[in-house]
């Protein structure tokens, strides 16, 4: 394998194809196969292919290996190269440089047995890694700055390539930039880690022929209506780990359209874009049902309670959060058109605080206890200057929307804290 490639082309390919290999899942892997998991597979032929995979995510990026694309192939071949080291070296070479890659193959492959230190017998080479040689890199740019390096290469046959043609059933198509926007709108509600693998996922659900992304931490729920391309092909709900979907949104090419597929047999989501194939883990089937259905929230009648300036609402929430960032008593006074927030802390360090703001409208006298941080966090994701608050008859929750974007809805449940009872 021998080629020259423009640094920006190689960097672009690695930023997509090497994502699984440089992810925390791979880099923190301590198994005997970690050298392989942390490597990216480069294949050079008519196409220049960069691929890597973990059990959670597999990505394949391919472009035509032509001089027009900045790639000049001298000898075809394939190798596994340590991804992080390779990416770090390419990154510092600069946009203007051209990188030469030359695979120096050992006459006899070296067998690395990571179990040696543990004294575990490895008679059938089950745990061994085959080192086939080293990749020599040389870079040179227009200012005649150059650099050389060499990295070990492992046998590419040791990695089974993911079959991206087994995509399963198509669900919908979406513009990459719309997916990014939708994920950013709801991601803040999902938990970083959930032992049940439900609350750290994003749910994709359909309701009245519309597609929604939803996240919840059980006390609140963010829902965003996704503008899709064409019709919804399959209305089954999907559950995708939030971090993986976020990674997908980062590596997708913004102008292109993504096709979302679900292979029921494999339990994997396939995402296809020109030149990019992605496969990610899906939430377990049982867990899909554990995620609250959005129709429950849509069917519940909410009345508009108040229309208030985002800045004013934010100010009084921040004042309350100085005393208690978690729970406060909200009083909506219809006659005076004033919202006041009373915060009490049991910590004993701060005296109770009361902050007031004038609302544009208040349609009902209401007293309720809600999470302060639940409301301050959502305001960061509201672009316009006005916030609409809605309330159901039982007053056990509050809905927040923005007049400028009716795709976004946010629900927060009340916290009937005994500290505020009779206040």
């Amino acid at each position: 394998m021998k080629l020259t490639i423009k640094q920006d082309v190689l960097m672009g390919a690695l930023k997509i194809g090497a994502v699984p290999a440089i992810s925390d899942t791979a880099q923190l892997d301590t198994s005997n196969l970690s050298l392989i998991i942390q490597s990216v597979k480069i294949t050079v032929g008519k196409k220049f292919i960069v691929e890597s995979n973990t059990n959670l995510m597999a990505v394949k990026y391919s472009i035509d290996a032509t001089p027009e694309n900045g790639i000049d192939v001298k000898k075809e071949g394939s190798a596994l190269i340590p991804a992080k080291e390779f990416l770090d070296w390419v990154k510092i070479q600069g946009n203007e440089s051209t990188i030469g890659m030359d695979l120096n193959i050992l006459s006899t492959p070296e067998i690395i047995n990571p179990m040696d230190d543990l004294g575990v017998s490895n008679d059938n080479n089950r745990f061994s890694i085959k080192k086939i040689g080293s990749m020599r890199f040389a870079s040179k740019d227009t200012t005649k700055t150059s650099g050389k390096w060499e990295l070990d290469c492992y046998d590419p046959e040791q990695v089974k390539s993911v079959n991206f043609s087994k995509k399963g059933n198509k669900h919908f198509d979406i513009k990459a930039e719309d997916l990014v926007k939708s994920i950013n709108k709801v991601l803040f509600v999902s938990l970083d880690k959930d032992v049940d693998h439900v609350l750290d996922h994003i749910s994709i659900q359909t309701y009245n022929d519309q597609l929604y992304l939803a996240t919840t931490d059980t006390k609140r729920c963010a829902i965003f209506k996704v503008p899709i391309m064409g019709d919804i092909v399959n209305t089954d709900s999907l559950l995708i780990p939030a971090k993986l979907l976020e990674s997908v949104s980062k590596i997708s090419i913004k102008e292109n359209t993504l096709g979302i597929y679900y292979n029921n047999e494999l339990g994997r989501i396939f995402i296809q874009q020109p030149n990019i194939d992605i496969r990610i883990a899906s939430g377990e089937k049982d867990n899909i049902a554990k995620f609250p259905g959005i129709e429950m929230l849509f069917q519940k009648p909410y009345k508009e309670l108040s229309n208030i300036s985002k800045n004013a609402f934010n100010k009084i929430l921040i004042s309350a959060s100085l005393v208690n960032n978690l729970v406060a008593l909200f009083t909506f006074n219809k006659e005076k058109s004033i919202i006041d927030i009373k915060a009490i802390s049991e910590e004993g360090r701060y005296k109770p605080s009361v902050s007031k703001a004038e609302a544009k409208t208040i349609n009902e006298d209401v007293k309720g206890i809600w999470g302060v941080s639940h409301l301050t966090e959502v305001l960061k994701h509201i672009k316009g200057n006005t916030v609409l608050l809605h309330i159901p008859d039982n007053k056990k929750s509050i809905k927040i929307t923005e007049p400028e974007d009716d795709n976004f809805q946010y629900f927060a449940l009340s916290i009937p804290s005994s500290v505020y009872q009779n206040k």
Binding site: T216, E346, S397, L413
Partner: protein, 440 residues
């Protein structure tokens, strides 16, 4: 519609031994898998957050169980927990776990101090409350408690164990109730109805280096060279220093020499065992008094453990002039004056020095038994031949023990300064396990 789940009573207050309490929590977690478990560190987490998580409504209406651990000794937290357990909805349960062992029972009065006793009383007022006292950590000071605990667990599994073997279990595993419970539970799966010391040494998981090395002692007493070499290799692979293993072998050769000396003096097997157990113990007149029980001797000897008291004893009872002793008690005070800030270091150093000055004692009565048996069976009886007097065999055995001891001493030096410690260890093992005497 979600199925109804029976929840545990609330609040539950758990205190006492860490591992038993942890085991309890794991068991409850396994039992109630359908609920949402939330864990908070009461010393770090704000009470506002705990309150919010306890009282917030959720979309799925799943019951919640809050584990509030690491209780600080703060009145505010105690009052908060009492209030929280009174105001929580029926769908939220509270487990308060004193994981940092703040609630302690005074061993003398067997009661709690007033602060925690009042806290417990207030919790108890709630008819649904449950208080679990897992007992204090066992300690070396009360070996009978540890023995009783070990015996109780074996009994639970219908196994019998005598006090000496129970003591060996504690020696090997340590005084931690959780470790003891977990290890005994595993051993009970395969152990015979009457638990023997051999079984314990073979299967107990040693918690300290010293107790691990007991396995090497036991192997040496089998007299099987291959077995000893296998154990040495295993120890070296798991990070033991060759010098540590050599010291074990040196001690073994010394004990054998002492046992053969007692044999030469005409003592029986049981007498030799007794003599070995008492070896190095002070004051001799107490330990060698045949009218006292072992426990009584131990209790009486406790008083003389302190070097100053030992000195007093030697001067007053034995009439040895005080100036004969160079016990550096005076040095201790001098050093103290010089380095007041480093008091702990000095005390540690002093303890170490005192330890060095003490005579060698056997780590466990079981070792004495094994050594005496080795001498009797593997050396004396194994070399008996027709027409040869026992006294000749004993004399030869005595010669052997001195030769073995000197060889081992040389090898110990060789290990410390030589280049091939593994070979030295193997040679030491070969000599220690070679019991054939050149009688003719």
């Amino acid at each position: 519609m979600s199925k109804e789940i029976t929840l545990p009573s609330s609040p539950i207050l758990i205190f006492g031994d860490y591992y038993l309490s942890k085991n309890y929590i794991i068991a409850v977690k396994k039992k109630y898998t359908e609920v949402r478990w939330l864990t908070f560190d009461a010393s770090v987490e704000s009470v506002d957050r705990i309150r919010m998580e306890a009282e917030a409504l959720t979309f799925d209406s799943k019951p919640k169980i809050l584990i509030i651990e690491n209780l600080p000794n703060r009145k505010q937290i105690r009052e908060f927990l009492i209030n929280l357990s009174q105001t929580c909805s029926s769908n939220t349960k509270i487990i308060i776990w004193d994981s940092s062992n703040k609630i302690k029972v005074d061993p003398k009065t067997k009661t709690l101090n007033k602060t925690w006793s009042d806290f417990l009383k207030t919790i108890k007022k709630n008819p649904d409350s449950k208080i679990i006292n897992n007992g204090d950590k066992l300690s070396n000071k009360n070996p009978s408690d540890s023995i009783a605990f070990v015996t109780k667990i074996f009994k639970k599994f219908n196994k019998k164990i005598n006090n000496d073997v129970a003591k060996l279990v504690v020696y090997l595993i340590g005084n931690d109730r959780g470790f003891l419970l977990s290890d005994i539970e595993k051993m009970c799966l395969i152990c015979p109805e009457l638990v023997t010391a051999d079984f314990i040494i073979e299967h107990a998981y040693p918690s300290s280096k010293e107790s691990s090395l007991l396995k090497l002692s036991q192997a040496l007493n089998t007299g099987e060279y291959e077995n000893v070499v296998f154990i040495i290799e295993k120890f070296i692979k798991s990070g033991f220093n060759a010098n540590e293993l050599a010291v074990v072998m040196l001690r073994q050769s010394r004990w054998q020499m002492a046992a053969i000396y007692f044999k030469w003096r005409g003592y029986s097997l049981s007498d030799i065992t007794d003599k070995l157990i008492r070896m190095g113990k002070f004051p001799a007149y107490l330990w060698h008094n045949p009218n006292n029980s072992y426990e009584a001797k131990k209790h009486q000897a406790e008083e003389y453990k302190d070097p100053e008291k030992m000195l007093e004893y030697l001067v007053r009872k034995n009439g040895i002039p005080r100036h004969y002793f160079k016990l550096n008690i005076s040095k201790k005070t001098k050093t103290k004056r010089k380095k007041k800030s480093n008091k702990n270091d000095i005390v540690e150093k002093q303890k170490k020095e005192n330890k060095k000055q003490k005579a060698e004692i056997l780590p466990h009565p079981f070792v004495a038994e094994l050594t005496a048996k080795f001498v009797e069976e593997k050396i004396i009886n194994a070399n008996k031949q027709e027409g040869i007097e026992d006294s000749k065999i004993i004399n030869k055995a005595f010669d052997r023990s001195i030769a073995v001891y000197l060889f081992i001493t040389n090898k110990l030096a060789s290990i410390r300064y030589g280049k091939n410690p593994m070979q030295d260890l193997q040679e030491m093992a070969k000599v220690l396990t070679n019991t054939k005497l050149d009688i003719l």
